[in-house]
Amino acid sequence: MKGATRIDWQAIRADFPILDEQVHGKPLVYFDNAATSQKPKQVIDALVAYYSRYNSNVHRGVHSLSQQATAAFEATRRKVQLLLNAREEAEIIYTSGTTAAINLVASSWGALHVVAGDEILITGLEHHANIVPWQMLCERTGAKLVVAPILDNGEVSLEAFAQLLSPRTKMAAFSWISNALGTVNPVHKMIALAQAAGAFTLVDAAQAAPHSVIDVQVLDCDFLCFSAHKMLGPTGIGILYGKREVLEPLPPYQGGGDMIKEVTFEKTTYNDLPLRLEAGTPNIADVIAFGTAIDYMQNIGLANIEARENELLDYATAKISEITGIRLIGTAPEKRCVLSFMLGGAHPYDVGVLLDQMGIAIRTGHHCAQPVMDRYQIPGSCRASFAFYNTFEEIDRFITALQKVQKMLS
């Protein structure tokens, strides 16, 4: 908390040009940060600088621009390594996002390790991206998808999770923070339990990486993945972290340029990590700008970001609870950044459309987590999700707007 008070949050907010936009003639209140974050001008400038001054393909040119692009491209890998406290840069694989990272693991790791009768354990909190790739793997191999249920407050039942682990469990894959409810899962315990059962572990950190300090050596998970666009970076770039000894034996996910050492029509030898898992010309510009986003977050400090966002969530939770008929979806004791709710009997779609008229952007629907909505027997929820550049005044506007919506729909 002390750290948070030293930060000039208004000055930080001024770095985000989009936050000055108007929607329907009203100042934008952007509360859809769990879907994607906004970008500071430094990140936008990095994209412009790359395309204006040193756009070039990486890893192959001897000319200066290619050298410069390669250096910037690989500098991001180093920044991600430090961000995660990974042992080495080779453990950092660029993907197009969290979804692509999980698909890579389900495909390459799955091909190596999973056979009929094996089990993949997930939880009832998962985003579709951490369900469907495993279902596809199960269909291919005859393995079984097992789901640890969630409790009424939106926490994963740790007891059930522990009981469902068995020698058949090849992989336990779970989110750190739920995108639909904001629940923080006890990932350290879950990883330890899975390891004790002999399972591999994958942590979907898409909602955690923007808000939390991550240390993969402390976590000791086999895989961890997240997306740049939810943490101030551009769309189309994500990270798959994997322990070297787990990544090393994996068959390549895709074939093509960059991932090879030598190609003849008879035989191809593959490149070393990480390039072996990064076929083709990568997303150079967005990787470089993601590096700028990491610098930007590190300058503020993740601990400061976390403290600020917790204050915003606590304030919003207290304020919204004063509205008659509000039902909070997900009330786990440990939550981050996400306020999922129903406004009385109002359909979330109506709430979203009317809030939009007042310049307020929230997400409505199932948030790509249909099983979570089914668990609460609702068609979807309203979800306000916060980032450090949001303000208490914006929350006040949101609460007033919700009261107006309630009146209009009554």
Binding site: H24, H347, P348, Y349, D350, G352, V353, L354, D356, Q357, T364, G365, P379, G380, K404, M408, L409
Partner: protein
């Protein structure tokens, strides 16, 4: 059909701000005859809407009669507008008539009909029924 649309545009024209306009849309939703439980079946659900929208259609004396419902007011208001315009029209008019009311009543642009949104799906489903009834009458 155009007279109905022009009348609706005039009605909305009297409403000054977005609150009144959406309030009127919600009133239209409330005035729409609800569907019976038997009519709220999966076959009648229009896919592609964020809320659930049901559309039932039948041919009576060469004209298409539409009934619709939704679990959300805004969607129900929108389909109520469509029902107001298309209900009781001939399949030919429904298929070839110009549907312009939503663009000109001052609701937000994301409610305008395009293939990717709820209104686009509603319009398409209404015309699909009209097409089916048209070929039925031509074959009869």
């Amino acid at each position: 059909m155009n007279e109905i649309q022009d009348q609706l545009i005039e009605d909305f024209g009297f409403l000054e701000d977005w609150e009144d306009k959406y309030g009127y849309l919600i009133d239209l939703a409330k005035s729409l005859q609800p569907l019976t439980a038997e009519q709220k079946i999966a076959d009648n659900v229009i896919k592609g809407c964020q809320s659930t929208v049901w559309l039932h259609a039948q041919l009576e004396g060469g004209r298409v009669r539409y009934q619709a419902d939704s679990d959300a007011f805004i969607s129900k208001g929108i389909i109520a507008l469509l029902v107001r315009v298309f209900d009781g029209q001939t399949p030919d008019d429904i298929l070839h008539g110009d549907f312009y009311v939503v663009d000109r009543i001052g609701l937000s642009t994301h409610l305008s009909p395009n293939r990717a949104n709820g209104l686009g799906h509603m319009l398409k489903q209404m015309r699909t029924y009209a097409l089916a009834f048209q070929s039925k009458t031509q074959n009869a």
